[in-house]
Amino acid sequence: MNQAKFRRFLARNSYLFALLLLVVVVLINYSRQDNLFEPSVLNRNIRVFLPLVILAAGQAIVIIGGGIDLSVGAMVSLCNALLVTWITPETAGGDILLAITLVALVGMAAGLLNGIAVAYLRLQPIVTTYATSFIFAGLALTILPRPGGELPRDMTRLYRRLIEVDAFGNIPIIQDIPILREIPPAFIVIAIVLLLWAFVRQTRLVQYIYAAGDNAEAAYTTGIPVQRIRLGTYVISGFFSAMAALALTMSLGSGSPTSGDAMTLDSIVAVVLGGTRLRGGQGGIAGAMMGVVILGVIRNIISFYDVPTWSQTLVDALIILIALAGPGLVRYISDLIRRYRLQGGRAA
C-alpha cells in the first residue's frame, strides 16, 4: 500500500487510533487486574460506562454535522429526573414503557429547541447549547429538587445482571469462554447501536450529515437541505441523551437533578479521542464509543496502579491529554522524519 492510499485508509477509518489506544489501555489495566475479563467484572465496568457511551454517540453525530452540543449533560439530568418521577417501584410494565417513550420525546423536543436555534436562527452552537443547558438543568431542578426516587427492582436487575446464553452450550472451545456464556446487557445495547450505525452509515441522509459538516456552503449549493440536516443532528442528540439517561437511571436506580451535568465535557473528550475532529465532516460514532471506554479504563488503571491519592486527578488528566495529543504527535513526528529525508535527499 503506498503512502497516499494509506492516508486515505486512515482518514476513512478514523477510529483506528482509538482502537489501538483501547487495546493498549485495556492491556495495561489487565496487567494489574487479572480478573478484568471475568463476565461479572466486565459487566460491572461496562454498565457504568454505558450511559456515557450512548451520550458520546449522539454527540459525535452533532459534531460530524458541524455543530457541538453542550447541553447533553443537562438533558440527561432532565430525563433522569423525569424517569424517577414517572416510574416508581409500583409502576406496571406498560406504564414503564409509556414513561420511557415520553422521556424519549422530551429528549427529542429539547434537541429540537437546540436545532431550531442553531440551524434556523443561525445562533452559534457553543453559546446556544450552553444557554439551553441551563434551561434543561433548571427544569430538572424544578421537577426533582432533591435527589431521590426508586425504580422497580426488576428494572435495575435487568440492567445489572448478566444474561445467560445457552446458544453455544455444547460447542467445544466456545463453551469454555465465560464471556460467551454470560453476556453483559450493556454489550447488547452497544452492539445494537453499532449495527444500526453500520446499517445507516451509507444511506444518503447520513452522507448529507458528513457533507453539511465538511463544507456547509458547498453542500447547500449541491442541493443538500443543510438546515434540516443540522436540525436533525440535534434531535438525534436529544434522543441519545434520553437513552443515556435511561441507562444511567437503571444503573443507579435513582435520580438526581444534577446527575448528568458532569457528562457533557466527557462526551466531547470521548468524541475527539475517537478520532472525530471538532471541525466536523469526518469521524464516526464507533470511535466516540471507544473513547468513553478508554476514559473509563484510564480511571481503572489509576486505581489499580495505586497512584498516590493526591495525584490521582493530575495523573488522570495527564494521561487523557497525552491520548488526545497522540494522533497529532504521530503526524508531527512523521512530518519531521519526512522533511529530514527530503533534505537528506537534496544534499545527496
Partner: protein
C-alpha cells in the same frame, strides 16, 4: 552496581515473603468523591494515620486502597466497583449522593464486604453509617444564632452541596430550629457548594442585594468566605454570622476579638477524623466484634452516632486556641475528634462513650483542660 541490585532484589524478596507470612491482614478500600476541600484532605490523611496506628496496636497488616478523585455519582459507583474488583474486605465511603450509590453498595455487602458510610448517612441495605448527627450539629449553631438575634430578625442561609446527605440533614435541623422562632425570617438561601470562595461570592451577592440582613447561617468550608465578605463590606451594623472550626477561621476570629470585643460567632466541630473513626469500627467488625443491633439508630436504622466533639464560642476560644496551638497551626487544619479503638469497641457494643474515648487528633494525647466535654454536649443536644 550489580551488587547493589542484588541487595535490592534480596530486600524486596524478604519484604514480600514478610507480607506473605503475616498472620492477619486486611485490605480496606476508601472511596472519596470530592477532592476540592481541605476537610476531605484531612479525612483521608487521618484514615492513613489511624491505619498505621491500628497496625501497631494489633500487630496486623492493613492495606489501604484509596480512591479519591473529583467525580459524579457514576464515578463514585466506579470507585466502589473497582474496590470490589480488588477484593477488599471493607469499604469506607463518604457518599456523595443520598440514593445513587445504594445499588453498588448493596452489591458489595451481598458479597460479604463490610461497607461503612462515614460523614453522611445513607440507607443502603447492609451498610453501616458511622457519622456525627449532622442534624443536631446544625441545630447547635442555628440555636446559637437564634439566641444571639434575640429570636427575631432577617437571616440568610448559605448551604453546601444540595442533595449531599449531610447538607440535607443539616438543613432539616435548621428548619426544625427555625420552626421554634417564628419571628426569624429567612430572606435568602443559596448554595455555597462547601467552598470558601463560592461562600464569599454568595455572601457578597446577598450583601449587595439585601440591605437588612441581621444574621447569617452557614456551614463549614464556607463560613470563612462569608466572614471575609462581611468584613470587606465594612458595614456599620454587620450581621451576626455562624462560623466554623477551622484554624484559619479561629485565627481571624481571635484577631477580630482584639479589635472588637463584642464580636461573636460559633464554630461547631465537624470532625474530618470521622473517616478514621469509621476505619476503627470496620477493623473491629472484621476482627469479629458483634454489632449490638440496639445501638443502631438514625433515619434508616443503620447508624452508629459518634458524639459531636464540641462547639467553640467566645467562652472557650482562648482555651481551644492554647490547647491546640491554633496560632501556629496550618490554616487549613480543622478541629477534630476521632474515637479511640476502645471507643470503637464501645460504639459497636452500644455502650456510652466518654470523653476519654475521643481524641482531638490521632496519636496525640488527650488535651487537658478542655472543659467542653462529651457529656455536656450530649446533655445539651438531648434537651433540645
Amino acid at each position: 552496581m550489580k551488587k547493589r541490585l542484588l541487595v535490592l532484589v534480596l530486600v524486596l524478596v524478604l519484604a514480600f515473603s514478610g507480607i506473605a507470612s503475616a498472620q492477619e491482614s486486611y485490605t480496606i478500600g476508601v472511596s472519596n468523591n470530592f477532592v476540592g476541600s481541605e476537610w476531605r484532605t484531612q479525612m483521608v490523611k487521618q484514615i492513613e494515620d489511624a491505619a498505621a496506628e491500628i497496625e501497631e496496636l494489633y500487630g496486623i497488616e492493613i492495606e489501604l486502597v484509596i480512591e479519591s478523585t473529583d467525580t459524579d455519582v457514576s464515578g463514585q459507583v466506579q470507585q466502589i466497583q473497582n474496590l470490589l474488583n480488588r477484593g477488599v474486605d471493607a469499604i469506607i465511603v463518604n457518599p456523595g449522593d443520598q440514593t445513587g450509590l445504594n445499588l453498588a453498595i448493596e452489591e458489595a455487602t451481598d458479597e460479604g464486604v463490610i461497607v461503612i458510610a462515614v460523614d453522611q448517612e445513607i440507607g443502603a441495605e447492609g451498610a453501616l453509617n458511622v457519622v456525627i448527627d449532622q442534624k443536631e450539629w446544625a441545630k447547635i449553631s442555628m440555636e446559637w444564632l437564634a439566641e444571639e438575634l434575640g429570636g427575631e430578625g432577617n437571616i440568610v442561609l448559605i448551604e453546601g452541596f444540595v442533595g449531599h446527605p449531610a447538607n440535607e440533614a443539616r438543613m432539616a435541623g435548621v428548619e426544625e430550629v427555625l420552626a421554634e422562632y417564628p419571628d426569624i425570617e429567612v430572606i435568602g438561601r443559596e448554595s455555597g457548594m462547601w467552598d470558601q470562595a463560592t461562600g464569599q461570592q454568595v455572601m457578597s451577592d446577598f450583601l449587595a442585594s439585601l440591605t437588612d440582613i441581621d444574621g447569617v447561617w452557614t456551614q463549614d468550608g464556607m463560613a470563612q468566605g462569608a466572614m471575609t465578605a462581611i468584613m470587606t463590606a465594612d458595614l456599620e451594623n454587620p450581621p451576626i454570622a455562624v462560623g466554623e472550626a477551622r484554624a484559619s477561621f479561629l485565627q481571624t476570629w481571635n484577631e477580630t476579638l482584639m479589635e472588637n470585643p463584642d464580636f461573636a460567632t460559633i464554630g461547631v466541630v465537624n470532625p474530618p477524623g470521622i473517616g478514621a473513626s469509621g476505619l476503627r469500627v470496620a477493623i473491629e467488625l472484621l476482627r469479629g466484634a458483634e454489632l449490638n443491633e440496639d445501638a443502631l439508630s438514625g433515619p434508616f436504622g443503620n447508624t452508629l452516632y459518634v458524639p459531636i466533639p464540641y462547639a467553640v464560642t467566645n467562652d472557650n476560644l482562648e482555651d481551644v486556641y492554647e490547647a491546640q496551638n491554633i496560632g501556629e497551626a496550618a490554616g487549613s487544619y480543622t478541629l477534630d475528634g476521632i474515637i479511640t479503638q476502645e471507643g470503637a469497641i464501645k460504639l459497636i457494643a452500644g455502650e456510652e462513650l466518654t470523653e476519654m474515648d475521643v481524641t482531638p487528633d490521632v496519636g496525640e494525647p488527650e488535651v487537658e483542660g478542655m472543659d467542653m466535654g462529651m457529656d455536656e454536649e450530649a446533655e445539651e443536644s438531648s434537651s433540645d
